[in-house]
């Protein structure tokens, strides 16, 4: 960067000299002097400096790249479908529309159908007793004994084990 002395000697109104502008934008001592020569330097003193977006450049770039990747994926999945698949899908859609229209026409001319009465059917499933596990050995079981209020209460023991059948 040029010295203050050089700046003051070379600064001219409306200059485009990059060295002069660089000095103008970084030296507070010369700002007043420059503005007294050309008031347009007042706003020209803004700028030149590197500006970092909030959150930093790295975060900014990664945000942009994430959006780009997302759009890239969307784009490639759209492109992956070949033309004949589009045609098949269109044909299927056309078929469904035509079929629906036919059914609608038929139902509009067909005589009214008597409502079908339905009766609730109860399915009796015989109750079966599950086999009682009398002996049980496992390395992975977790046994939890539930606390009881008195000795007369039934003792409840819970066993957690992935190897046991789910419906036990």
């Amino acid at each position: 960067m040029i010295s203050c002395q050089t700046f003051r000697a070379t600064v001219r109104p409306g200059t485009d000299d990059s060295n002069v502008l660089e000095h103008l934008r970084s030296c507070d001592a010369c700002l007043d002097h420059a503005v007294s020569i050309d008031p347009d330097f007042f706003f020209r003193s803004i700028g030149g400096s590197e500006m970092v977006p909030p959150g930093g450049v790295d975060n900014f770039v990664s945000d942009v790249m994430a959006q780009v990747r997302m759009r890239q994926t969307e784009g490639s999945s759209m492109r992956r479908l070949p033309l004949n698949q589009y045609l098949r899908a269109a044909a299927a859609l056309l078929f469904v529309i035509a079929g629906t229209t036919g059914v609608y026409r038929f139902s509009s001319v067909a005589p009214a159908i008597a409502p079908i009465t339905t009766a609730a059917v109860q399915i009796h499933k015989p109750l079966t007793t599950k086999a009682v596990v009398e002996t049980y050995q496992s390395q992975n079981a977790t046994i939890v004994e539930m606390p009881t209020a008195s000795a007369a209460d039934a003792k409840v023991v819970m066993i957690y084990d992935d190897s046991l059948p789910a419906d036990l």
């Binding site: 007294s36 347009d40 706003f43 977006p53 790249m65």
Partner: protein, 206 residues
């Protein structure tokens, strides 16, 4: 011997690809080249967006939008022209659209709010505070049209020549000069109303 050895070591200049080469790499399916391009241009794009828009969060969003548009339209770039000109065109288009939509929204909400300094403030001694200039500009530049503001920022803060700005905006150089002249005049008038202490600078020099 030392000189010979030094010549064999690749310098940053030789390793670093220029913008056109990076674009070419992006086109040939190398996303890392695009990442490099974004990293290289972030500060420039963000600074321009910030000065046109005047709000850091909006400027960040708009800058990201510019890069997404850049990605989507990278095939349209003609390497005959400078990459920065093409990028600046994208920034100005998106930025101007944003200001226009914001202005219409703000106008609907509040069209009369104006902050004007009292004459008592103006009597105080004048010391140009660098930190305040940015604020003064953002306050006064609300009277400029989006195009005037964009041209003013590109000319006065980014030091682009009028011919370059004309290429970016796709208009005549005389139009750029005209906008610039009007922008300066409007800013002076607004400065006089809102920051009379600074407007004295123009009076003293007139």
């Amino acid at each position: 011997m030392a000189t010979a050895l030094r010549l064999m070591i690749p310098t940053n200049e030789s390793v670093e690809l220029d913008d056109r080469q990076l674009v070419e790499n992006v086109r040939s399916g190398k996303p890392e080249a695009f990442e490099q391009l974004v990293r290289r241009k972030t500060s420039k794009v963000y600074a321009l967006c910030y000065r046109i828009i005047g709000n850091s969060e909006d400027a960040k969003d708009i800058s990201q939008l510019v890069f997404i548009k850049l990605w989507e339209n990278i095939e349209k770039y003609d390497p005959k022209y400078a990459f920065d000109t093409w990028l600046y065109r994208m920034v100005t288009n998106v930025g101007i659209d944003f200001i226009r939509s914001r202005q219409s929204r703000d106008n609907a909400v509040n069209s009369t709010l104006r902050l004007v300094k009292t004459s008592a403030d103006a009597e105080q001694g004048l010391i140009v505070q660098r930190k305040e200039i940015e604020h003064v500009f953002q306050t006064c530049s609300t009277v400029l049209s989006p195009k005037q503001k964009t041209i003013f920022v590109m000319r006065e803060m980014d030091d682009l020549a009028s011919s370059e700005i004309a290429r970016v905006l796709g208009c005549r150089e005389s139009t750029v000069r005209n906008h610039l002249f009007n922008a300066r005049k409007l800013l002076q008038e607004e400065l006089k109303k809102r920051f009379p202490e600074y407007s004295k600078l123009w009076k003293e020099n007139a």
